[in-house]
């Protein structure tokens, strides 16, 4: 049996909301950044450096990193509980799924710390 003990909030409804709130943040960031790059063709290092030196941009980027962690966790949890089940994998399913989720969790944490280092390290 697959239980919701490893989902983000132990509540499907809260996960549902967290997924959507983080989605809106991610969408806003992606559209902003893509739009900025498209509208500034031939951008040089100085302008790119200036954009990410702006405190508002750093706050927006950090918020996006947090949203990314939440969104990716809900997404990877959903994939793993849909497909890595006893029906699909037999009696080791729980171990496999837990290891997969642990790997995703560590990767997400690494991405977050790396992102913070990028934002405040240049």
């Amino acid at each position: 049996m697959v239980t919701n003990v490893t989902n983000f909030s132990r509540s499907g409804l809260y996960d549902w909301m967290a997924q959507r709130v983080s989605a809106v943040v991610l969408a806003a960031y992606v559209l902003f950044l893509l739009g900025y790059i498209v509208l500034n063709p031939g951008m040089g290092y100085a302008q790119w450096h200036g954009l990410f030196s702006n405190n508002a941009m750093r706050i927006f980027s950090l918020l996006t990193l947090v949203a990314l962690g939440v969104h990716a966790w809900v997404g990877m949890w959903t994939i793993s509980t849909d497909y890595l089940t006893p029906t699909a994998l037999g009696k080791w399913a729980t171990v496999v799924r837990f290891l997969f989720q642990a790997t995703c969790g560590i990767a997400m944490f690494v991405f977050f710390v790396w992102g913070v280092q990028i934002l405040w390290g240049f």
Binding site: R20, L26, V30, H49, L68, M76, C104, I118, F122
Partner: protein, 94 residues
């Protein structure tokens, strides 16, 4: 899964491009190669399709298009809009 792994690629690009003038030039130089363009196109296509389909979810959460007919129409709109965006993205990249 591709999007999850793609985060690493995009973070690496951001890291390199912000690290120094040379790093920025290196990323720019790298993105002129056909292979790199194709990889970025594929990655951003997956991301934009995910985004468009996600917006449809939000619209359906609001109670719009929840019927069988609406669901079919919505999925077609998502495919058409995504295709247009992905083609435009390709034009922009090349």
């Amino acid at each position: 899964m591709i999007l999850f792994l793609g985060i690493a690629v995009l973070l690496f690009g951001l890291d390199k491009s912000l690290s120094s003038e040379e790093g920025f030039a290196q990323v720019k130089e790298c993105l002129t190669s056909p292979l790199a363009k194709f990889v970025i196109w594929g990655l951003l296509s997956a991301l934009l399709y995910h985004l468009v389909a996600g917006v449809r979810h939000l619209i359906m959460d609001a109670g719009v298009g929840e019927t069988l007919e609406g669901g079919k129409l919505g999925s077609k709109i998502v495919l058409v809009v995504s295709a247009i965006v992905i083609v435009l993205l390709g034009v922009w990249i090349w």
